[in-house]
């Protein structure tokens, strides 16, 4: 699927680079919100089940498989946050 809509994208600021920067910033703000919601779900579930995990979280050491999965996640995450730089119309 394409990531960009066909048609001229308006420029909103004096310097078009500011448009890009705002796109990155808003995507980042969005992802922080997504992360917060997920953490909030986890913490509420843990609390409901009477499990206290703070120490376990601090003590956690990811194995190789988890490390690879996390690297993959961060690659997709960066692509999402830096979306505007990958679009032809901006360059």
């Amino acid at each position: 699927m394409p990531k960009t809509a066909k048609g001229k994208r308006p420029v909103y600021f004096d310097d078009p680079q500011v448009d890009k920067l705002l796109g990155i910033t808003m995507a980042l703000i969005g992802e922080v919100s997504v992360l917060h919601e997920r953490l909030d779900t986890i913490e509420r579930l843990l609390k409901n089940q009477g499990i206290l995990l703070t120490e376990e979280i601090e003590a956690y050491k990811p194995d190789n498989e988890v490390t690879t999965e996390r690297e993959q996640w961060r690659a997709e995450y960066l692509a999402r946050v830096l979306r505007v730089l990958q679009e032809d119309q901006y360059t």
């Binding site: 699927m1 394409p2 990531k3 960009t4 809509a5 066909k6 048609g7 994208r9 308006p10 909103y12 600021f13 448009d19 705002l22 796109g23 808003m26 995507a27 969005g30 992802e31 919100s33 997504v34 919601e37 997920r38 779900t41 999402r80 979306r83």
Partner: protein, 386 residues
């Protein structure tokens, strides 16, 4: 808050996908409540007085207001946020549809042709006015196909419509069709019992299905130019147990015989096509209707219904949300177009009807006052009887 009705074809969301869509909606509300209103304030306090000093008169139309507002940084911030919100909205939905597309295609295949039908035209020529830009900035537009039996555009549109409107069209995204049925047809024409109904530019059939419920004895047909929309529309209607005959046709010149229908409707179709196409759609409606039949086109208001400032805000959509025909349609005289197409002028009606019929359906016991307050506003309709 209400949530979207989970029919079997609706794309599902993971926790993060849902949270991303939630964020898009929150961002939209923030723009609406906290960023947009300052435009009016800045216009009244800064932009308008400056224009008056420079021209010794007030701005008279949306173009002059826009030229005055283009000097205001806040207006550009608002625009940038609106545009980004739209792009992030599609992105948040497309990620989730892309992930489950093979499954959606399979689900559609499994339940096809049980009640209604789907007729696609492999030689269909998309009208060039629909491919010039991707309308509403939906990447790929409503018509593009990237895989066999592709229905991604339909799935994206179904979920995207709900996320975009924060559910204001109801759990089935069907308020336009539903309000036409409940707040116009059944109130003003209680004895009207159409035997054949046609919905033009039906997309995924959001507004088509209320006619199936309202007129259980009628045959309901729906057409669109976009194959992926129609594949999804057919599967969605089947999943919801509604009998509709979908086919890939251009509303400017369909293959149906003269006088085939008692009721021909469209919902926010007219502003997506250029004036010559609107003219041809009106002519086609006249041709397709049996004597005594009715056409109804539902829209948002025209420019002459609003003050110049509101028109300026509306007009933002034209260049910023890929709505190339939005303004030409809102400047047009629809009654004249209908009359030119053959309808006699005393049979053409322009009217505002209450929207929000889906809310009345949800709550059966409420006072008339609550009923009043549950309605957010109106749909504009152009109706004509042959």
């Amino acid at each position: 808050m209400e949530s979207q009705f989970q029919h079997a074809m609706l794309p599902k969301t993971t926790h993060d996908e849902q949270a991303r869509q939630n964020f898009v909606q929150s961002m939209k509300m923030h723009i609406f409540k906290n960023i947009a209103p300052r435009n009016k304030e800045i216009y009244e306090k800064v932009a308008k007085p400056r224009f008056e000093r420079e021209h010794q008169r007030s701005p008279e139309n949306r173009y002059e207001i826009r030229s005055a507002m283009e000097k205001e940084p806040h207006y550009h911030w608002w625009g940038a946020f609106q545009r980004l919100n739209q792009e992030m909205m599609w992105d948040s939905v497309m990620i989730s549809v892309d992930r489950q597309l093979p499954d959606l295609i399979k689900r559609a295949k499994d339940q096809s042709n049980q009640l209604g039908t789907l007729t696609l035209d492999p030689d269909f020529q998309l009208p060039t006015h629909q491919t010039a830009v991707d309308i509403h900035c939906m990447p790929g537009g409503y018509h593009s196909e990237f895989t066999e039996n592709d229905l991604a555009a339909g799935a994206i549109y179904d979920r995207g419509t709900y996320v975009y409107g924060i559910g204001w069209l109801g759990p089935h995204n069907d308020d336009m069709g539903l309000s036409i049925v409940h707040n116009y047809l059944q109130t003003e024409f209680p004895d009207f019992q159409p035997r054949k109904i046609l919905d033009l530019g039906c997309a995924v059939g959001h507004s088509t299905l209320p006619y199936v419920d309202a007129y259980p004895n009628a045959e309901v047909y729906a057409i669109d130019v976009a194959a992926p929309m129609l594949r999804y529309a057919h599967a969605r209607a089947e999943a919801m147990g509604k009998r509709v005959h979908f086919s890939q046709q251009n509303a400017e010149h369909t293959k149906f015989a003269d006088g085939s229908f008692d009721l021909v409707v469209s919902h926010i179709l007219l502003h997506e096509i250029p004036l010559p196409a609107i003219r041809r759609v009106m002519q086609e409606c006249y041709r397709l209707l049996a004597p005594g039949g009715m056409m109804i086109h539902a829209e948002a208001p025209l420019y002459r219904h609003m003050d110049a400032y509101t028109a300026f805000i509306y007009d933002w959509q034209t260049a910023n949300n890929n709505e190339p025909f939005w303004s030409a349609m809102r400047d047009s005289d629809l009654t004249a177009l209908a009359t030119e197409a053959g309808f006699s002028s005393d049979q053409v009606i322009e009217k505002f009807i209450p929207n929000g019929a889906w809310k009345e359906k949800l709550t059966t016991t409420h006072s008339s006052q609550e009923k009043e307050s549950s309605q957010r506003g109106t749909w504009f309709v152009l109706a004509a009887t042959k």
